[in-house]
């Protein structure tokens, strides 16, 4: 598992050889090309398992997407949001995640796309939520406000990410940008890639990110009077609040004897399969 987080400056001088023995020349070339066009707009990047992540400054989001289109990324895959606020690390701990007190505040009226005043009410709940969950996730990094971030790095709770693809070269890139925690705003790219129109509407209603310049930032899935942003981590999933997930029983540890027996069965099946010539079963 490579966890190499290379800032661009480092990436150019020394690709970390210990974690990635062979340098992915295709992705490296993609990255060089992009950083050549964007300059210091690129604040983080990551190459792993034949894929490329590039994180850019929020102000340069639109310019980045335009540059990508210019570089031949003609196919728009998706655009969505990420909320890095720690949730319960696994479903077992779902009941320990405290959401009760701030749940009320969280369901403040959805802000109009044009105004950002309503946003601040939401984020009053954020520090409380972060503190409450901190002790349930002791393995968080500690820096960056107490939560982990993904590949390409990140300094804020909210990130927007999009995937573009070049059908001519057969390569793709995942773009990311950090958003302001209190007022997640970003330039719209609906006129660069027409497909982003609906994706931005979805991201707005699910995460509350405001896309400036989008002509009709209205609900697409949820009813018009829906309040709150469901995919934010502090939005409670009510069915889990009422009753913990019964399916958790499924992943209890086996008794050691049973575990060994099953392992032996798998080994035997593997051995048997190799001897048998191809057969329907």
């Amino acid at each position: 598992m490579s966890s190499a987080e290379t800032e661009t400056a480092e990436a150019e001088q020394a690709p970390e050889v210990d974690t990635a023995p062979e340098v992915d020349t295709v992705r490296q070339q993609q990255l060089d090309e992009l950083s050549g066009v964007l300059g210091d707009a690129v604040v983080g990047s990551h190459i792993h398992a034949g894929d490329l992540w590039v994180r850019v400054r929020r102000e340069d989001w639109r310019r980045t997407v335009e540059a990508c289109k210019g570089l031949g990324y003609d196919f728009f895959c998706f655009l969505s949001g990420l909320d890095w606020m720690p949730s319960a690390p696994n479903p077992e701990d779902a009941e320990t995640l405290s959401v009760e007190p701030e749940a009320e505040e969280d369901e403040a009226p959805a802000p109009e796309p044009a105004e950002g005043a309503g946003e601040q009410q939401h984020d009053e709940a954020t520090p409380a939520g972060a503190v409450a969950t901190e002790d349930t996730t002791p393995e968080t990094d500690g820096d960056e406000g107490g939560w982990k971030t993904g590949w390409g790095g990140g300094e804020t709770r909210f990130q927007v990410f999009a995937r573009l693809l070049s059908t001519r070269r057969g390569v793709g890139v995942t773009l990311k940008a950090d958003l302001d925690d209190d007022e997640p705003r970003l330039a719209s790219i609906h006129d660069v890639y027409s497909g982003a129109d609906w994706h931005e509407r979805e991201t707005w209603e699910m995460f509350g990110f405001v896309f400036e310049g989008h002509p009709h930032l209205t609900h697409i899935y949820l009813p018009g009077e829906f309040e709150g942003f469901p995919l934010r981590k502090d939005f409670p999933l009510l069915s889990r609040e009422v009753k913990p997930w019964p399916g958790i029983v499924d992943v209890e540890d086996l008794p050691p004897a049973e575990e060994a027996r099953q392992d032996a069965a798998i080994q035997a099946a593997a051995g048997e399969g190799e001897q048998q010539p191809e057969e329907g079963g």
């Binding site: 598992m1 966890s3 792993h48 398992a49 034949g50 992540w53 003609d74 196919f75 728009f76 895959c77 998706f78 969505s80 990420l82 909320d83 949730s87 690390p89 696994n90 479903p91 077992e92 779902a94 982990k148 993904g150 590949w151 995937r163 059908t167 057969g170 793709g172 995942t174 890639y193 027409s194 497909g195 129109d197 609906w198 699910m206 609900h219 697409i220 899935y221 949820l222 469901p230 995919l231 939005f235 999933l237 889990r240 997930w245 399916g247 499924d250 992943v251 540890d253 575990e259 392992d263 798998i266 099946a269 593997a270 399969g273 190799e274 048998q276 010539p277 191809e278 329907g280 079963g281």
Partner: protein, 390 residues
């Protein structure tokens, strides 16, 4: 005032005034037509609001979300093996094909690969799901255009494919058969011969439908040149699958990326059509069904021996990281962006479903078309409601 008696001049004035009257008459009051949410052509609950000027659409908008089930939120409170049950219900006509990219994304994060036999069986079931799905499309496209017979043939022959899928997985619509590291079970005895017979039937079905529909003048007249989507527009909207190949883009994720599945070993062809209209989308899908039957034949012949399950821990914990895996599903590009923080379930799972993007082109493509063509275009873009609403 001089009165002209020149007959030529009189005729000219008469035509001019007739044109002017027609122009005035055409400027009718706009009306709004509400199509759906329960309309047979929407195959579920999709609503289209079209503003009409006479018979022509001047503006159209799509209202979706009647079936939104919030799968992206639900994935965050389930374990990896449990999520296949959810994703089965995204595109419910080819459920197995939904499971594969998700399992591949989890495997990519865990850095494991299914054994070759499992890869082959996965691809066989994937292609059979494609056949089951597109067979129905071929039938319903006819039904939407007023030809009733094809849909009966389609249901009749799809049944054989579903029986084969049920034979392996036990589920006709929701197999839930794919596992991290392999598959739940091997193929049952005698299945291969039955499958080969079914593939022959499906090829006959394709021939039959080709004669029934594509040779039909009405079908040609109602689909040729209707709903033309140029390649650049399609790419920009993120159209995928047969919709983009019907616009002449030679792009197929089965061929153009490296996945641990069997497509790379097979001899097959990606079909494209340069026209970009409703007919070409139909034509490409029909060819793809034929191609899929040939692929299944090749795969059952070359099925490698060996285990069907790699060694994985009983409690699956996926290491922290991010992975994006997309495959060429019957409806187009379907992908999962999985963010793991090392837990039993994903931290975030973005589901990219094909129909959502395929349908987002509707406001663009419906502008200026006539009312009956709305139905043709909807049918030819081919969407599944669960795949739009997730």
């Amino acid at each position: 005032m001089a009165v002209t008696t020149d007959p030529q001049r009189l005729a000219y004035i008469a035509t001019q005034s007739a044109d002017a009257r027609v122009n005035v008459e055409l400027q009718t009051e706009e009306m709004t037509l509400n199509l759906g949410p329960q309309h047979p052509a929407t195959h579920g609950t999709l609503r289209i609001v079209a503003r009409l000027d006479g018979e022509q659409v001047v503006w159209a908008d799509v209202v979706c979300g009647y079936m939104h089930r919030g799968y992206e939120k639900l994935t965050e409170v389930r374990t990896y093996p449990q999520i296949t049950t959810l994703v089965n219900r995204i595109d419910w006509l080819s459920s197995f094909a939904n499971e594969v990219p998700f399992i591949l994304a989890a495997e990519k994060l865990m850095e494991i690969e299914a054994p070759p036999r499992a890869q082959y069986i996965r691809t066989i079931l994937f292609e059979m799901a494609r056949i089951a799905n597109i067979t129905l499309f071929i039938g319903t496209m006819g039904a939407d255009l007023g030809a009733v017979t094809p849909v009966f043939y389609a249901f009749r022959d799809r049944e054989h494919v579903l029986n084969q899928i049920e034979g392996v997985t036990g589920g006709r619509f929701h197999p839930n058969f794919d596992r991290i590291g392999g598959l739940k079970d091997d193929l049952p005895r005698g299945w291969i011969d039955e499958t080969k017979a079914v593939m022959v039937r499906i090829r006959e079905f394709c021939d039959e439908l080709e004669e029934l529909l594509m040779g039909n003048d009405i079908f040609q007249a109602r689909t040729r040149g209707i709903g033309v989507i140029p390649a650049e527009v399609g790419l920009s909207y993120g159209l995928s699958g047969a919709n983009i190949r019907g616009s002449g883009v030679d792009w197929d994720l089965r061929r153009d990326q490296d996945l641990p599945l069997a497509w790379k070993d097979l001899d097959w062809k990606v079909w494209t059509h340069p026209d970009g209209d409703s007919f070409s989308r139909f034509w490409v899908r029909l060819q793809e069904t034929r191609e899929a039957t040939k692929m299944v034949d090749q795969m059952v012949d070359g099925l490698p021996a060996g285990p069907i399950q790699a060694k994985v821990p009983r409690i699956i914990k996926v290491p922290a990281g991010e992975a994006w895996v997309h495959t060429e599903n019957p409806l187009g590009e379907m992908g999962y962006y999985v963010v793991s923080q090392g837990g039993l379930g994903p931290f975030r799972c973005k589901i990219r479903s094909a129909s959502f993007n395929n349908i987002s082109v509707l406001p663009w493509v419906l502008r200026g078309v006539y009312v009956p063509d709305i139905i043709t275009i909807l049918a030819s873009l081919y969407f599944i409601l669960g795949d739009i609403d997730r």
